[in-house]
C-alpha cells in the first residue's frame, strides 16, 4: 500500500528525483499539488522551478520523491536542463484540450532522448485535464500511440477531478519501474542527492 507522509526520511530511504516537464499551463504544478496534498487550487504560473519533496511508504521500502516542477514558459527553457539531468523519473505533461502542448511534448521528448541512456529514467507521457473531454484535441489513441512508439508509459489524468487512482497509478508504476530498474540503488545517491551538472550556458 502507498501512503503519503511528510517529514524526515528514515534510514534506508531511496531518493527518487522526479521532474515535471511540459508547456506552460498544462497543469504540472496542479499535478504536483495533487500528488502531495491531494488538493486542487488555482495557482499562478511557476517562476523558474519549484522543488517539493514527498515521502511514500511502500510495504518494503520508503521512497522520498524529490520533485522538480519546472516552469513551462519559454523564457525559462534554457535553465530546464539543470533539472532533468540525472532524473530517475520524468513526467512529460500535455493538455488534452490543446494540441500545441502535445506537439511541444514531442519536442521535449527529443530533447530528453538526447540526454538519456535508455533504461536509466522512467519516462511518462501524461495527458492532463481529462475532465475537459468536450474540448479534447488529442485523442487517447494518439497519446498511447506516441508512448508506444517511444517506449514510454502513458496515462491520462485530471488534476482537477482528482481522480486519485490515476494519480496514484503514476506513482505506483513509476515506483515499480524504478524498483525494477537496476540503476536505483542506495549507493547511487549521496546525502545531497544528485548535484546539478553544467547545462548550456544560455543565461549569462
Amino acid at each position: 500500500n502507498i501512503s503519503f507522509h511528510g517529514g524526515e526520511s528514515p534510514k534506508g530511504t531511496l531518493r527518487v528525483k522526479m521532474v515535471l516537464l511540459g508547456s506552460s499551463g498544462v497543469g504540472k504544478s496542479s499535478l504536483a499539488l495533487r500528488f502531495g496534498k491531494d488538493e486542487f487550487r488555482s495557482t499562478t504560473p511557476t517562476v523558474g522551478c519549484a522543488y517539493l519533496t514527498r515521502v511514500v511508504h511502500l510495504s518494503d521500502v520508503t521512497l522520498r520523491f524529490e520533485i522538480w516542477d519546472t516552469a513551462g514558459q519559454e523564457k525559462y527553457h534554457s535553465v530546464t536542463p539543470l533539472y532533468y539531468r540525472g532524473a530517475h523519473a520524468a513526467l512529460l505533461v500535455y493538455d488534452i484540450s490543446k494540441r500545441e502542448t502535445f506537439i511541444r511534448a514531442q519536442v521535449w521528448l527529443k530533447e530528453l532522448e538526447k540526454q538519456y541512456t535508455p533504461g536509466s529514467t522512467v519516462m511518462w507521457l501524461v495527458g492532463n485535464k481529462g475532465d475537459l473531454a468536450q474540448d479534447r484535441q488529442v485523442s487517447v489513441q494518439e497519446g498511447q500511440a506516441l508512448a508506444n512508439d517511444r517506449d514510454l508509459s502513458f496515462t491520462e489524468t485530471s488534476a482537477l477531478a482528482g481522480d486519485q487512482v490515476s494519480e496514484l497509478l503514476i506513482y505506483k508504476k513509476a515506483v515499480l519501474g524504478l524498483i525494477e530498474s537496476p540503476d536505483l540503488t542506495k549507493e547511487t545517491f549521496g546525502n545531497k542527492g544528485p548535484k546539478f551538472k553544467d547545462g548550456p550556458h544560455i543565461y549569462h
Binding site: S29, G48, D69, A71, E74, L82
Partner: protein, 520 residues
C-alpha cells in the same frame, strides 16, 4: 493652492540611498526639521546602510538629468533654438499655437479618441521595429485598433531622432522613454508630471529587464529585429500589470524607499543575526519579508541592493502564489545591480500559511541545495530563540493607527528617512478606506512629491488646503515628510504637528526602522 518655495535646492538628485558617515553620533533626542542626513529619525546607527545606490550606474538619475535639462529648456523661452535641436517636448500652448506639424495633429486626435480616454493611464511597450510587446489595457483586438497609433508614435519618435519626450494634448500626456531595444510609451490623463511618468516607465523597463537581462534583449534584437518579444514575456504580463497597480498605490515606489514590519529591535536583531549566521559562499543577499514589509535584509559586505531591485523582488513575490508550494528557485536579474547577468533566487515561505517569505540570492545557479540548507540553518537558529514567537506576534499587527501619534487633526502621513532609504506610514484611517479614496490620497501625495522634487524649482515645503483635506509636505536633507490633515486644521497647527510627529517617530524608531543592518 498655496505653494511656497522656501529655498530651492535640487536635493532629489542627491537623495540616493547612499551611506552617510557623518554626524551619526549626535542623535538628538528631540529632532528639529533642520536635521542633517544621517541623524534623522530612522537613520541607521552603523556607517553601512543596507540599501545603497551610488556604487552602481544609476540609470534613473541619468534619465532624470536629461528630463531636467529638457525641462529647463522648455521653461526658458529664450532657448527656443536649442529647444528645437535638443528636445521635442512641446508645451500645451505651443501645440495649440500651431507650431506642430499636421502629421502629429492627426496623432493627437487618435490619442484623444474614446478608447484612449476611458483609462487613466495607458502603458505600451514596443520594440524599436514597432512590434507591440506589452499593453496595460486591452486584448489582441483592442491592441490592433490602437496599433496604428503606436506605430505612428514610434516612427515619430524615430523621425525625431529619439529626442521627443512628451506630447501634451488637452487633458492628456504622452510620455516616451526610449531604452534601446525597447520603446516605452505612457499615455496619462492624471496630473502627474512628465518626470513622474518617466519614472514609472523606467520601472516597467526594469521589470522586463529583470526577467530577461539587457544582454539577452540586445542579443535577441540584434539577431532578429522583428522578433516578437511577447513569446518570451508570455505568462509574465501579470508582473507588469501588478507593478503598474503598485505604482498607483504603494508609497514605497513613490518615495524610493521600503517600509519595515514594526518589530521590537531586540527581536529584529535576533532575526538578523540568525540570518547573518546562515551564510554561504555565493550568497549575496538574504531578505526576509512579511507581505510587502521588510523584516530584515543581510547583505554581503560591499554589495548593495538598490531599492528598485528590492521593489521588483517584492512585486515578484507578491504577485506569485507559486512560491507557496515548495521551494522556488529562479534566475532573476537585478537590473540596478547588473543588467547583464542573472542571480539565482531561492524563494520560500517559512511556513505554509505564513506571510514570512525568505529570499536568498546567490550568484551560482547550481546553489539550490546550498540555499535550501541556509534556510534550514536559519530556521533552526530562529526557532531556538524566543524571537520567532515575537516575530509571529508582530505579524498580527503589521501596521499602526495614526491615533497613536496623538495629533487630533492628523489623518495620515508618510515619513522617509533619507539615509536609510526606509519609510514609515500608518494605516489608512476610516475616511480613506475605499480603494478609490486611497488612490486619490496617493495621487495627492504624488502631486506634493512632484512639487518637492521639481527639476528646476523644487520646494522645501508646501501647504495645500482643499475641501476634503489639508496637506503639508516638508523636505530637509535628512527626511521627507508628507502629512494629511482634516480640512478643519490650520496651517499653524500643521506646522506645529511636524515637531510632535518627529518626536514620536524618534521615540518609535527602534520598532519602525532597521537601525542596525548586518552584513555577512
Amino acid at each position: 493652492m498655496d505653494g511656497q518655495a522656501l529655498r530651492p535646492t535640487a536635493s532629489w538628485e542627491n537623495g540616493t540611498l547612499a551611506p552617510v558617515d557623518r554626524l551619526r553620533a549626535e542623535r538628538a533626542d528631540s529632532p528639529t526639521p533642520g536635521l542633517v542626513e544621517g541623524t534623522e529619525p530612522g537613520a541607521g546607527q552603523k556607517s553601512a546602510m543596507f540599501v545603497h545606490a551610488q556604487s552602481f550606474e544609476d540609470l534613473t538619475a541619468e534619465a532624470e538629468e536629461e528630463a531636467r535639462r529638457d525641462d529647463e529648456l522648455d521653461k526658458s523661452g529664450e532657448c527656443a533654438e536649442e529647444l528645437k535641436v535638443l528636445v521635442g517636448e512641446k508645451t500645451i500652448e505651443e501645440q495649440r499655437n500651431n507650431s506642430i506639424s499636421s502629421e502629429s495633429r492627426s496623432k493627437e486626435e487618435d490619442v484623444s479618441s474614446e478608447a484612449w480616454r476611458s483609462h487613466r493611464k495607458h502603458v505600451f511597450v514596443l520594440s524599436e521595429a514597432g512590434k507591440p510587446i506589452y499593453t496595460r489595457y486591452g486584448t489582441e483586438e483592442a491592441l490592433s485598433s490602437t496599433m496604428g497609433v503606436m506605430m505612428a508614435l514610434v516612427s515619430f519618435v524615430e523621425a525625431e531622432k529619439n529626442i521627443i519626450r512628451s506630447i501634451h494634448a488637452d487633458g492628456c500626456k504622452v510620455v516616451f522613454l526610449t531604452k534601446s531595444p525597447l520603446v516605452l510609451v505612457g499615455v496619462s490623463r492624471t496630473c502627474q508630471s512628465d518626470k513622474e511618468l518617466l519614472r514609472e516607465l523606467q520601472y516597467i523597463y526594469y521589470q522586463i529587464v529583470s526577467l530577461l537581462t539587457l544582454t539577452q534583449l540586445n542579443h535577441i534584437f540584434q539577431h532578429k529585429q522583428n522578433y516578437d518579444l511577447r513569446r518570451l514575456l508570455a505568462g509574465s504580463e501579470y508582473l507588469t500589470d501588478n507593478l503598474l497597480h503598485r505604482l498607483d498605490r504603494d508609497p514605497g515606489l513613490l518615495l524610493s524607499a521600503v517600509t519595515c514590519l514594526p518589530l521590537a529591535s531586540s527581536a529584529r536583531d535576533v532575526v538578523s543575526s540568525s540570518l547573518q549566521a546562515a551564510k554561504a559562499k555565493n550568497l549575496v543577499f538574504s531578505i526576509l519579508l512579511a507581505g510587502d514589509r521588510l523584516v530584515t535584509l543581510v547583505r554581503k559586505k560591499d554589495q548593495f541592493l538598490h531599492h528598485i531591485d528590492l521593489h521588483l523582488v517584492f512585486n515578484l513575490v507578491g504577485s506569485s502564489s507559486s512560491f507557496r508550494e515548495g521551494e522556488g528557485w529562479t534566475p532573476i536579474c537585478l537590473p540596478k545591480f547588473n543588467t547583464a547577468g542573472f542571480f539565482h533566487a531561492h524563494i520560500s515561505y517559512l511556513e505554509p500559511a505564513s506571510e514570512l517569505c525568505l529570499i536568498l540570492v546567490s550568484t551560482d545557479r547550481e546553489d539550490f541545495f546550498n540555499m535550501s540548507d541556509c534556510k534550514q540553518r536559519f530556521l533552526e537558529r530562529l526557532s531556538k530563540r524566543s524571537a520567532y514567537q515575537a516575530l509571529k506576534e508582530a505579524l498580527k499587527c503589521p501596521t499602526y493607527s495614526v491615533a497613536q501619534v496623538g495629533i487630533p487633526e492628523l489623518r495620515h502621513f508618510l515619513y522617509k528617512s533619507k539615509s536609510s532609504g526606509l519609510y514609515t506610514s500608518p494605516e489608512f484611517p476610516e475616511v480613506y478606506h475605499s480603494d478609490e479614496e486611497q488612490e486619490r490620497l496617493m495621487g495627492l501625495y504624488q502631486d506634493l512629491h512632484s512639487c518637492l522634487h521639481h527639476p528646476t524649482r523644487p520646494l522645501r515645503s508646501f501647504y495645500r488646503c482643499s475641501e476634503t483635506e489639508n496637506l503639508l509636505a516638508w523636505v530637509t536633507s535628512g527626511f521627507e515628510l508628507y502629512l494629511c490633515f482634516s480640512p478643519l486644521g490650520t496651517k499653524a497647527l500643521a506646522v506645529s504637528a511636524v515637531n510632535k510627529l518627529l518626536k514620536w517617530i524618534r521615540k518609535e524608531e527602534d520598532r519602525l526602522f532597521i537601525l542596525s543592518p548586518l552584513t555577512y
